[in-house]
Symmetry: C2
Subunit: 288 residues, 2 copies
């Protein structure tokens, strides 16, 4: 099986190009309502999402299959975004379309005492995807230049060198065969308010609400600044950032699915050839 | 939200009762074509499977949500079966319906040198699901009384005590809050031949084929004996085995989905109450 050049026609521009962070792009200018590159609308989303999940799952299976024949490559999806941007929805509706066999999910919350006793990349390194797997980071090492910077959890002379350090770390990952798909998810302040309010209205959503979310919300300008620095300083050729507007969940899910499909297609895979004699095995099986 | 007593009417008998191993049940008598307890047929399966996956996912989310409030319970699905029985299909089509956030999958192949240097339960203990998660074992500690016994990888005086040891180990898991769902999947020799043949016909299936599968196939009688001993000696009140006929994939998927739903319902969960003042938070949010 070869990979067709199969971007659905509802996309007027390739998401991995259209959404890629470009030097000079300003966080303050992002329109979280926008649907860049997509010419369809919400009514197109359910069918298209289902179709593209199948394509994503097929490519993921091929990645996994190749690892059984010694291919050590992997793909790592890095999701960053403010509360309610929809990281959980991406995990559920996009990653959830793949076979759990080939997915390694990890969320990074407040570091434990043990994690704090180590370098901030220690817990990250332990969670990197193994060969043939799709790793998913729900938050990531970027927390160490976002919340840590905004809350002054360490002084500037500690977080400042981290941008370069992260670039070197990711260079190492890429050289080791991991394709990074870095996604910065942006929701507007208004939309965030709506989503937080919903969590306070529905008893089946209370568990997703954390009073601390409002504290973070109040620091929006500081976060914008920290996100801007993150994008400016860690969007590299080997591991670029993508900016995904997330006020329309259906759009962000479609877009991130395409980013993953594109990353997998970039591996130029085929189904691995048999490492046994097919004719001989057929004969053995016939008489077994 | 409460849990409705919601077994679909297409089931004439509850799968967790109907499929439960009973002392005296003989592996040699299992009809792998059967669909015990189900009065529908294949044409009913797609719609029903989709509906029940939603129910399964909802209960899984509730388990996860409760763990955020300190509930440490978990559920562990243990899948055992001969090659081609459909373990991978259960992972893909049943477990795949859940949010990857709450699932911890692990397959157990041939032990590594490091694993062999430890007690056989060492690698198992490392892979147990954490609080609020659904663990999935694709093969398990039972390999140590199946392939190990059939191939005489260790002498009888080593594997013989393992049955009791496993019962004690699982007792410990259950006491610690883990519900075990143990599923023995049975495919007939004829159906296995068909499925292996298919893997030899399709280039996208070669990677699933292993010449060793035929060697195992030729040891079917010895495996039947080992499975019989496993069921006789490790189907306990705290962790019973279920026998699932697997010639009809649609049936085995429906059945195992119901076993998981039943296990989750048995936890008598509700959505966790808020650990904050809802009215006060609404007020804070309004002005944030």
């Amino acid at each position: 099986m070869t990979e067709p050049d199969d971007l659905p026609s509802l996309w007027s521009h390739e998401p991995h190009v259209e959404l890629r962070f470009r030097p000079g792009d300003r966080v303050a200018d992002i329109d979280a309502d926008a649907t860049p590159g997509f010419r369809g609308d919400k009514s197109d989303a359910p069918t298209l999402q289902a179709e593209r999940n199948v394509r994503f799952a097929e490519l993921q299976e091929m990645l996994y299959a190749n690892s059984r024949s010694g291919d050590t490559r992997s793909v790592l999806l890095v999701l960053q975004g403010m509360d309610t941007a929809g990281k959980g929805g991406i995990v559920k509706h996009v990653v959830g379309g793949c076979n759990p066999q080939g997915v390694q999910y990890r969320s990074f919350g407040k570091p434990t005492a043990e994690e704090l006793a180590h370098h901030y990349l220690w817990r990250i390194r332990k969670a990197l995807p193994s060969a043939g797997h799709i790793g998913v980071f729900d938050r990531s090492h970027y927390e160490d230049v976002l919340i840590v910077r905004v809350h002054n959890l360490v002084p500037p002379e500690v977080w400042e060198p981290r941008y370069d350090e992260i670039n070197a770390f990711e260079r190492e990952l890429v050289d080791g065969g991991t394709t990074l798909v870095k996604v910065a998810m942006f929701v507007s302040l208004d939309e965030q308010k709506k989503r937080l309010a919903e969590r306070l209205e529905r008893p089946d959503k209370y568990w997703k609400y954390n009073p601390g979310d409002i504290d973070e919300r109040l620091k929006w300008p500081a976060y914008q600044e920290a996100y801007q620095a993150m994008l400016d300083r860690t969007s590299t050729d080997h591991a670029p950032w993508h900016i995904v507007p997330c006020n329309r969940k259906w759009y962000s899910r479609l877009a991130i699915t395409e980013l993953m499909i594109e990353a997998l297609k970039g591996l130029n895979m085929a189904w691995p050839p048999p490492d046994f004699d097919v004719a001989a095995e057929k004969k053995r099986l016939a008489s077994a």
